[in-house]
């Protein structure tokens, strides 16, 4: 079963920008309570969207270059990348059903 992939500044380009499928990147940090609530939902989504969508998690402490490159100033923020470019963003915690709805809107 697919699981979210941890990415940092070293692995970001290869794992996210050069991926064959769209990738949803969750920018998070250990000090953030809503980020903790997002984690199990992304675990579910990684399995549900296997093959169609990659799910990656980026700890902003360990990947400051990319966090700043994409202008992250609130967490959790989820950015959807298609063919190396950010095409949509979801800011803040959403319950699973709402997150899926928002995600489907950007995916299509």
């Amino acid at each position: 079963m697919a699981k979210p992939i941890e990415v940092d500044d070293k692995t970001f380009d290869q794992t996210v920008l050069k991926a064959n499928t769209p990738v949803l990147v969750d920018f998070w940090a250990p000090w953030c309570a809503p980020c903790k609530a997002v984690a199990p939902i992304l675990d579910d989504l990684a399995a549900e969207y296997e093959g169609r969508l990659g799910i990656a998690r980026l700890n902003v402490d360990e990947a400051p270059v990319n966090a700043s490159k994409y202008g992250i100033s609130a967490i959790p923020t989820m950015l959807l990348f298609k063919e190396g470019k950010p095409v949509g963003q979801i800011v803040g915690f959403r319950p699973k059903a709402e997150l899926k709805k928002a995600l489907e809107e950007i995916l299509t």
């Binding site: 940090a29 000090w31 953030c32 309570a33 980020c35 939902i41 100033s73 609130a74 319950p95 699973k96």
Partner: protein, 305 residues
């Protein structure tokens, strides 16, 4: 999967977790339904200093995770789902959620409250681009920058002080000329050289265009308008209970709070309310915990009758 419980608790903040602890220790089969963050609003607080037993303070996240562990130890079950409605039938209460229906003999509503949006132009557009409702989460992104905090209560002042750890300056904007926050927090804020106060002032507009670059503010006494250059704005302008789906089932006050009796009982036998969702609740972690325990004890009595 079990869908029937003696007690179902809606909401996983301090009220719900304390109710879960007491109900589980009473050996009642108990399910807690939480749509978002186990721990509730206070999980976002960097430092809780007024919960007894922690003389050096404790982070809201640690405190509520400990409450959750303690309740789970005695058998509390939790599920991530959003409640859509509650209906009554001869066998008890049916709780409709995004993950299907659950049945309970007693229900404790401890859904707490959600932060208000101020409703100014740019607030939605710049969410995640300088607009924030969680200083603990987002403060570190504003290192050596100027930020504004809007509000005058405990949260605004506490989080304003927290933000001075990162920001070069914090401008606290309040629509009145005095703070509502506790005296100790006020003293701390007044003594902090990085905090500047803008009294009698409201935010009219958030200025972009690509991300927050400033605020247009208006002095409510003089009518004078001015512009502040800030790269972040944190809103702490009160909370509202998320109880819309209960209208028609329970009487609610204008803001959506649930009136209860001394035992946290509502007008419907077997339905209780505890914590910030309750009318006239003091909205403290300690009182939410106390009300949750009281509600669970009342639910136990109700079930044994």
């Amino acid at each position: 999967m079990n869908r029937a419980y003696e007690v179902i608790i809606i909401g996983g903040g301090p009220a719900g977790l304390s109710a879960g602890l007491y109900a589980s220790r009473a050996r009642l089969s108990t399910l807690l339904i939480e749509k978002g963050i186990i721990g509730g609003q206070i999980a976002n607080a960097a430092h809780v200093e007024n919960y007894p037993g922690f003389p050096d303070g404790i982070s809201g996240l640690e405190l509520t995770q400990a409450m959750h562990r303690q309740a789970k130890k005695y058998g509390l079950e939790t599920v991530a789902a959003e409640v859509i409605g509650i209906t009554l039938n001869e066998r008890g209460k049916v709780i409709k959620t995004t993950e299907g229906e659950y049945r309970a003999k007693a229900v404790i509503i401890a859904v707490g409250a959600e932060p208000n949006r101020l409703g100014v132009p740019g607030e939605e557009k710049f969410l995640g681009k300088g607009v924030s409702y969680c200083a603990t989460c987002d403060g570190p992104f504003f290192k050596d920058q100027m930020v504004a905090v809007v509000g005058g209560g405990d949260s605004a002042v506490e989080e304003g002080v927290l933000l001075t750890r990162f920001a070069s300056k914090v401008i606290l904007i309040h629509r009145r000329n005095r703070l509502r926050a506790s005296r100790l927090l006020q003293e701390r804020a007044f003594a902090n050289k990085k905090i500047e106060f803008l009294w009698d002032t409201v935010v009219e507009d958030i200025l972009g265009p690509d991300r927050v670059r400033g605020l247009r503010v208006r002095n409510v006494k003089t009518g004078d308008r001015s512009t502040l250059e800030v790269s972040g704005v944190f809103f702490y302008v009160g909370l509202h209970p998320g109880t819309d789906y209960l209208r028609g089932l329970l009487p609610l006050d204008e803001e959506g709070h649930i009136p209860t009796g001394e035992g946290m009982e509502t007008e419907i036998p077997g339905i209780f309310a505890a914590g910030d969702v309750r009318k006239n609740s003091p909205r403290q972690v300690i009182t939410a915990a106390g009300e949750g325990a009281t509600a669970a004890i009342s639910a136990e009595k109700f079930l044994s009758e």
